[in-house]
């Protein structure tokens, strides 16, 4: 997460958040991005089990569900 977003949401490294997409939900710990790695509002998660839980089954005729650039709502779990 961009450090500016963490500041805005009063989050520190290791805090847990819930991410909810149109198709799924996961709970993860927050790690701050390097200063200019991510613009505000953009989160990064490695591709794998958790990220795949946020994607839907529909591939829009392409064979691949939209697996990146997914809109999520972030909820702070404290």
């Amino acid at each position: 997460m961009a450090p500016s977003d963490m500041q805005r949401l009063d989050l520190k490294k290791g805090d847990r958040v819930r991410l909810t997409s149109e198709d799924g939900q996961v709970e993860v710990c927050i790690i701050p991005a390097r200063t200019d790695e991510l613009p505000a509002g953009l989160l990064f998660i490695a591709y794998g089990d958790l990220s795949s839980r946020l994607m839907g089954g529909d591939t829009h005729g392409s064979g691949m569900p939209t697996s990146k650039g997914i809109d999520v709502q972030l909820e702070v779990l404290k």
């Binding site: 198709d23 390097r34 089990d49 994607m55 591939t59 392409s62 691949m64 650039g69």
Partner: protein, 448 residues
């Protein structure tokens, strides 16, 4: 070349020269392995990922085969697998990108005998690029040409510093080439991404675009290549970067002697998918009006390019192929594994060297868990755990010889380090194929 592959005692150390790393699509075939018994002590020239791949491979003591979760003889597993596949009305064969081309070939053969659906992990990485290749073609070259000629190297939606760590040093940025005697100094590196990745540190120019705006950015470049006037406000709004920056990039692209665009899943996995890849392929084609320009998908798995090649030789199409009518039909979105499973169509499956239970969508995972399926993998995975039949197989490249295709479609031989007590994918698949053919013959006799 294996200098000494005779292991007379477990303590004896042998050196396997020019071993092939199959961890990523770079398929580096210059690794010198120091091997003692069933342990690789050192992997010279391997990157951090390659070291992890080679050094963490000990002998797996799990049984060769499990049927319904209990250890069973391999013959029983092969029999059960053949029964599952021949009885199914819509069997799916999926995976294949982390095994040898020899095994891939047999897997496609089984798909043909059972009238099944064949798909590879390409469909969830560069499948959209595969669709785009068919639509507009691909101006491309080998990595050797990049090394010897490429003076403008672009990466779009790809982070090789973390996914293909030797890409820069072995092929694309650092090497001194035939026409680039000063190596890195003779090349310009441009990286386009939504995130300032580790790779961005290697770039001369880093362009951070807005998420889901690859298509707009690529079409901006296409327009500039043709000298079309664009509205600066609109360009900046859409791409997140000023028109002057895109114009500067286009000027550099036209001035290059040999431009290369490597592209990754930042392009194919986001909204637009095959339309994004198609935009990049057509931009590359357009650039050939001015200079020599090529593009290349940065492929992930060690033999995912082999899977595309083998499925293409055998069926005429690279992935997402249905053989139910006795001839191949290709239709991504219909015959691709993510769809066949999420829609609940497949009634049995065989998963080879991949882990859809860990990285498919929830509806696809739920359906796979509800049908009988066969899995083969060197390690225990969520997919092998829920399989009706699971085989523990030897690891390609480390224990198993054969052929793999580098990401630029160059076939490369494997030089294994030591033998495994587990069977190879190829041996298991050959056993299943034999039994499937016998069962098919019995069914035909029973029908007539």
């Amino acid at each position: 070349m294996i200098e000494s592959n005779q292991v007379s005692s477990p303590e004896e150390i042998k050196i396997v020269k020019d071993a092939t790393c199959t961890f990523c699509g770079c398929v580096c075939d210059d690794i010198d392995l120091k091997v003692q018994g069933h342990e690789i002590l050192e992997a010279k020239r391997a990157c951090v990922l390659g070291n992890g791949w080679f050094l963490n491979h000990g002998v797996d003591t799990r049984p060769d085969c499990f049927v319904e979760g209990r250890p069973a003889p391999v013959e029983e597993g092969v029999e059960r697998a053949a029964q599952i596949l021949t009885r199914a009305r819509y069997p799916l064969i999926y995976g294949l990108s982390d095994t040898t081309t020899e095994a891939q070939r047999v897997a496609v053969g089984i798909g043909d005998w059972i009238g099944g659906n064949i798909d590879t992990t390409t469909s969830v990485c560069h499948g959209p690029s595969g669709m785009a290749f068919q639509g507009v073609g691909e101006a491309t070259c080998s990595l050797g040409e990049v090394r010897n000629r490429g003076d403008l190297i672009m990466f779009w939606g790809s982070n090789p510093a973390e996914s293909h760590p030797r890409h820069f040093t072995k092929y694309s940025l650092m090497p001194k080439g035939m026409f680039l005697p000063n190596g890195r100094k003779d090349r310009t590196c441009v990286i386009v991404d939504v995130r300032k990745t580790k790779s961005a540190r290697a770039a001369d120019i880093f362009i951070q675009i807005k998420p889901r705006k690859d298509f707009e950015a690529l079409w901006t470049l296409r327009a500039l290549a043709q000298g079309i006037d664009l509205d600066p406000v609109e360009v900046e709004q859409e791409t997140g970067n000023p028109l002057s920056l895109w114009q500067d990039l286009m000027d550099r692209m036209k001035a290059a002697k040999f431009g290369v665009i490597f592209f990754g899943m930042g392009l194919t996995m986001t909204r637009g998918k095959h339309a994004n890849s198609e935009a990049l392929l057509t931009l590359t084609r357009d650039m050939n009006r001015y200079t020599r320009f090529v593009c290349k998908a940065n492929r992930g798995h060690g033999n995912v390019s082999g899977a595309d090649n083998v499925v293409s030789w055998r069926t005429g199409y690279p992935f997402g192929v249905n053989l139910a009518r006795g001839y191949p039909r290709f239709n991504p979105g219909e015959y691709t594994a993510a769809d066949v499973l999420a829609r609940g169509e497949a009634d049995a499956a065989m998963i080879i060297a991949s882990d859809p239970m860990a990285n498919f969508s929830q509806p696809a995972r739920q359906h796979l868990a509800s049908i009988p399926y066969v899995a083969m993998d060197p390690k225990e995975t969520p997919t092998t755990r829920s399989a009706a039949v699971a085989f523990t197989v030897a690891t390609y490249g480390i224990n198993v010889p054969g052929t793999v295709y580098r990401m630029d479609d160059i076939p490369i031989p494997l030089r294994p380090a030591f033998e495994s007590s587990h069977p190879s994918d190829l041996e298991i698949l050959q056993g299943i194929e034999r039994r499937v053919r016998e069962l098919n013959r019995q069914m035909i006799r029973a029908d007539s």
